[in-house]
């Protein structure tokens, strides 16, 4: 793809400050490639950046990862910052302002056109992980009495500012959304035709309070390039574009995966995160789970006498605990992911419970059978084989029930279901299955082997 050589050529032109060649070179280079090259640039970044046109600087800041935005922005003088802010798309500007201290942010807003500043302030009121928090206010509004040619002429003068031109929005005089026309339909229709027949009045829109994960379900269902955001009166507020949703989907998946692995929320990439920040991200859950796990020690001590006489019983504890942990994490993972993709909802809990009971019965029986054969052949002790295998069935059923129900319960209680994943499930299942196992051992195995106690 040969991006590197293009950027290298550009940087050379910038160092020589040959202005007219710079803008030509810039035309063909994507801001994302400039950011990559800046990361590795060893000269004076501030000097180099000062030679870029303002709109390219704005594009670079827009394109940068959330955690880099502030860092790059701080390379500029306050005057330059104000110019950049005026060039940025509203949704990206909101993200940038949220990384600043409030005083600097309000300074930036004061430097803007009053109407634009008002738009930005309104956007900042929405939670960053809702439709309102990720929408942009730059879209193209049209009226329904135009021809194709008039529409195209209107785009030639008014299209430049929009975040996306994939759809044109038909609004009435009160800014109420009446319908939508795809640009694709506009450009495949003869110039002299009317726009009206192309308008789809059955518009799929979202409210600004909708969680971004649910917004992503709309995009995956319909495959749209953008979706309008409207208020309760159907007044058009902004649009959300598919490339923002790609980021949302990746972010939400990563969040869930991290929670499932007992990690606190981390910002930035692994390689760019310092050792102390990485340690902090892991400490809380490890401590919490370590302390919870001490409960299993108390249980084992309760059966000290039995275990002292029959150490063989201890030999199966790790296998039982691992199998319980794995069986539970399978169920919780399927339910958590199903809820994240919008395929399972709270009200499905009975179907899920029914399925998990059947599945755990089948899986538990097969595992118990294999385990029975192994223990019997290895130890020539049928009661031992029976005890361990019974405990195994109970453990699998328990693990799958707890693993599937806790995420649903969490969602019901408005807690993030992803927390109810492998680590917590394992801790809970460990303790209960240990009690079942040792109790069963006392009843079945020790009872038959030593008819006293």
């Amino acid at each position: 793809m040969g991006e590197d050589s293009n950027v290298t050529k550009l940087f050379k032109l910038l160092q020589e400050n040959s202005t007219n060649q710079i803008s030509k070179a810039l035309d063909d280079i994507h801001p994302a490639d400039i950011i990559d090259a800046l990361d590795e640039y060893e000269g004076d970044r501030t000097l180099l950046l000062s030679r870029f046109p303002i709109e390219v600087l704005a594009a670079i800041i827009e394109e940068a990862e959330d955690d880099e935005k502030g860092e790059l922005f701080d390379l500029f003088s306050i005057e330059k910052k104000k110019e950049i802010v005026n060039e940025m798309a509203s949704d990206e500007l909101v993200d940038l302002l949220e990384t600043m201290d409030p005083e600097e942010a309000s300074d930036m807003l004061d430097s803007m056109d009053e109407e634009d500043a008002q738009d930005i302030k309104e956007l900042m009121r929405y939670h960053p992980e809702t439709a309102g928090g990720i929408m942009a206010t730059e879209f193209v509004a049209i009226v329904d009495e135009m021809t194709i040619e008039e529409t195209l002429k209107y785009l030639q003068t008014h299209g430049d500012e929009a975040e996306s031109l994939s759809y044109l929005y038909v609004l009435n005089h009160d800014e109420i959304l009446q319908g939508v026309v795809s640009l694709r339909d506009v450009v495949t229709t003869p110039f002299d035709a009317q726009i009206a027949p192309l308008i789809n009045t059955n518009v799929i829109s979202v409210k600004p309070e909708l969680d971004q994960e649910e917004v992503s379900h709309i995009f995956t269902k319909y495959g749209f390039a953008s979706v309008p955001v409207v208020d309760e009166n159907n007044k058009m507020l902004g649009i959300i574009t598919a490339d923002d949703i790609l980021d949302v989907v990746l972010e939400e998946s990563t969040d869930d995966i991290e929670k499932m692995a007992a990690l606190s929320h981390g910002e930035g990439t692994y390689l760019e995160t310092g050792v102390f920040k990485l340690s902090k991200q892991r400490m809380f859950w490890l401590l919490f789970l370590m302390i919870s796990a001490t409960f299993t020690g108390v249980i084992i001590q309760g059966y000290e006498q039995e275990l002292a006489s029959f150490v063989i019983l201890a030999a199966f504890i790790p296998m039982l605990m691992d199998t319980g942990g794995n069986a539970g994490s399978q169920s919780s993972t399927l339910v958590i992911r199903g809820m994240a993709l919008g395929e399972i909802s709270n009200k499905d809990y009975l179907i899920v419970l029914y399925k998990e009971l059947l599945v755990s019965g089948i899986v538990g029986l097969v595992l118990a059978f294999v385990n029975f054969l192994r223990v019997w052949l290895f130890y020539k002790d049928i009661m031992l084989a029976l005890t361990v295998s019974c405990a195994l069935i109970f453990t699998v059923i328990l693990a799958k029930t707890v693993g599937s129900m806790l995420p649903i319960l969490a969602k019901k209680l408005k807690i993030d279901p992803a927390i109810m994943a492998a680590p917590i499930i394992t801790t809970i299942v460990d303790a209960i299955s240990l009690i079942i196992y040792l109790h069963l051992a006392k009843l079945l195995y020790i009872g038959k082997t030593l008819p006293i106690s």
Copy 2:
């Protein structure tokens, strides 16, 4: 959003077979909503579907989930099937043909226009999870000597077939890709301007063999609406669109999450999957891990004498094992996700190892300190506290090293790194940390307490 009532109205019209009103109602309804309503339709689906126009049926099949496509398609007669196939987009048709038995697929291909069939056969040669496997061959090619008006007129006659119009591709007479123009630039430029200055010759393209996950990295980096696929001579083969990539990203994340939770690959949603299929998805890994875990039993038996005399030692086994499992799964998860997002590559293994050693040292010390206090206060036995805490530090360091290195090693060996996640890491770390713990106990604890054995 009121989709339901629109679809209900449509179905009523279809039942009455009022043809001219049907096509009007269809204009405003998205095929995804028709699929949802069909799922719940209680009448004769075949009869209802027979009244849809062919292009709507094609859109419905295109829009359906991979596992529903074949099911819906089989509702039609062989003649209708052939008509539908002729209306479908190439990338979607390939997916559909791959679900059919070879004979039916070749029958369908024979019914098509020879050139189109040839295109489809070539697409089917690519692995479904590569750029070639997800691209469509319908794009708009233009030459560089047109005005904006001529370009738009060309779109009016040739734009309908394209999978996406977001970009127009400038090809020479040998179909070699010369440059790209965004539709956005076309519609915001005056009619009489030339197209040439809008052409970006620095095109970012992909080769057909590229893995779909790496294709998704291009989209997340640049935010494109589509990306061209070219062969080694830069000959244009097709395009990949952003909505397909959204599916890829979700699919790849779900795959990784499933593997991390010891689940085999599952098709379809949880609620739609039968109990036996769900059981099968879970059985292999549970059996494999259960049998692997029996190794820990052998280790415990090796220390039977020590454990019989000091059952208290067994009380710490679950806590050590759980902490090791959690610590290892944190590291493997961060590395697996980092590799999936293209943030960590094989050659970073030394940096990762260095970071994990430092992090595990810090985390291990904190955990060991808390644990030391707890055991000391609770059991008033400083040697016991020391033994367990030392074992804990070793376990955390071991778990994080193994957890971070195995996914990188797997990738190096061309195995999917996501397999090297919590379940396998836990099994390996359990065994080694148990040996370390019991050996330490023999040296530090039993040695000091009972100076014989």
